[in-house]
Amino acid sequence: MNYLLHLLIYLSIYSIVAMSLNMIVGYCGLLSLAQAGYFAVGSYVYALTTLKLGFGFLPALTLAVGVAALLSLALSLPAWRFKGDSFVMVSLAVQTLFFSMFFNWSNPGAEPGTVTNLTNGPFGLAGIPKPSFFQFKADSLPSIAILSLVLATLCGLLCWRLLSSPWGRLLKSMRDDELALRGLGKNVRLAKLQVFAIACGMAAIAGAIYASYVGYINPSAASLDQSILMLCMVLVGGVSNLKGPLVGALVLLTIPELLRFAQIPDEFAANVRLMLYGVALVLMMHFRPQGIAGEYRIQ
């Protein structure tokens, strides 16, 4: 049962990330490799504010979202000008920047969480408290599962509300033909600022839940592998609707779990998982380029 609850928590976390990335990939047509960076920003801000400033779950979560939304300018400002492959490179640069920051902002002699050793480098931050707010204390697996599921549902509702609105239509139009949309008097720069702020803020929510559940965070949360995994979820599941990223998260989280039953030695399991991602992507691009449940084909 605990195993299933653990899976449910992970599924909720990655569903939020996939839905957030879908806003950028599916609705703006921009491939971003920096989503894990914003996920980690959420984790670190949550960890630092709860550990060092004694914030509760909700203030820490709010701050994490705010910081990620602010840092989303690192992507949204270049997105004014860069598209296609150039934007992928920009997002890769942002991703590397985040990873380097989390990895290198350390000083072995100083206490973790201080200005000189903010992230504690590769050793990360441990002892992150479990979520607790009002009368609710998520200190057991079922309670964290419920909390993560509720947050994922809220994020899903937020996405549904926003993306089915005229704002969602504006984003789709921007993806289809930005210049034509500008010719209709629409402020596409503002739309990009908004969509990146919302998407990165949502990734930070996922990061905060992750940090509070695992109780530990290190720079690997911001690794390129993580970003690629998140992007794969969106591409395999399909973009430009709500169910695509959910299906993608489910499929790509299920594969490694199923592999556990295949009795593959641990030393190969990671590589086999990567191979399977690769094969899944190749098959997907060939037979169903719009993803399992997607509506739009990324060019």
Binding site: R161, S173, D176, L184, G185
Partner: protein, 519 residues
Amino acid sequence: MNSAQPQTHDVAGPASSSKAGRVLMSVEGLRKDFGGQPVLDNIELSLHEGEIVLLQGVNGSAKTTLLNILTGNLAPDAGTIHLSVNGNEEVFHFPRRSWQDMNVFDRFTPEHFACKGVGREWQDIRLFSSQNLRDNLAVAAPRHVGENPLAVLFRREAVKENEHHACSEASVALDKLGLHDREGSSADKVSLGQAKRAAIARAVQAGARILFLDEPLAGLDEAGTEQVLEMLKDLADRQRLTLVIVEHVFNVSKILEFATSAWTLKNGSLSVESAATVKMQLAGLSIGPVAEIQKRLPPGAVLAQKTSLNGADLLIFSRNKRTDDPPLLEVKELVVYRGNRLVLGSRDELGNIHGISFALHRGDTGLMLAANGHGKTTLAESLAGLVKIASGQIRFDGVPIEQMPVWERAVRGLLFLPARNHTFADLSVAESLKLAGINDCPQSLKLLLHRRVSQLSLGEKQRLAFECALRKKNYILGVLDEPFSALDGANVQALFEHIQNAKDCAFLICLPNQIRQEI
């Protein structure tokens, strides 16, 4: 003032309006260079309310460049633009300061011009392909509250009301165009004529008072041309919109029927004449492709055959006497689907499918005239091997080629010139010619040799495409899909010369049926 930041001050009120309407936009000393070559030099113009302008010029005369500048898409190198569509005058001075490109509040942008009532219809239409026609129009509604995510979450009633209003206006606009039954159709599934009308309506929906139209009639069939012309006349007469219409040689006369003035771009200069003067100058000139072909075929060439293929007309002009020689191209019972849609072939009452059949001999020039969406491009692509055929036979020079790969058909001498995507955007003109194996560069392309293809106008690209395709004469059958698109008179003539000189070859030319009246 050495910047593109606008100065704002009130213009004279209606009392000072001239008979032609007040000036909405004026330009002084406009200059634009590309690679050190001036394409627009000291342009002076003014645009009055209600004016309908035909903008004409040969290929590469910078018609689209001028449109791009006047709609805020491209900054000129020098000059001043005065814009006063809604009563307040804004002045943009050029050249701009270097930091102006970085200025996030820069107002020389297409979105600012659009907000000020300057609309644009693109040559390649640019509807939002993943959305239906109603959404394409509804998205253009200005100042929509629902485009603010915070309002979507916290001002639901206002958003709902705004959206209802935008959708109703879109539906009314589509209804007026006779597209009521297509409002739920995806923008990439409607015919060319419907898409062009929807694109014009979208610009009007966005609040355009000046509308710049780049070849609105290009590629349209007879019905589509009529519908778009009707719409433009209605916009001019009833809504008093100011129109600036770029058109190429075959459609100039249709625009002149209701234009009030004509701007002609030549060697970087702009001359303004009355529409009547230009009409008189054009009178007597043969401008239809069918007439051109007939005129240019060698003496003795006759209309050998006129057949109907699924409602399309196939006219075959033959230069040689019919002999018992096998045809160069023989198509028998050809059936082609696009997805589930039967495009080439017809279904009878019993459900049996009948393919299309025709033959071309050496020296023949076949003109296939059909409405948009009829399957001209599908036929051309089927012959070239780019589209899989469902059934039927294609024999080329006596050899069945249905199963033959594209490259082998080309090696055997089957040339296909597509209507679009026929050039390589990242190559220079010189590289493109070299790639096509052409050493003797045509005179008209010599000045463009070092330009990248992506920087050429559509007419120049079309010229490059047909020179690359036809000049080397390593073909015996040319399949040309809408080859006259965007070409000026001189380039049309150059294309016909290629056809005329290739005496032992056959050509199949696919054209929209708007020139049916010539037959």
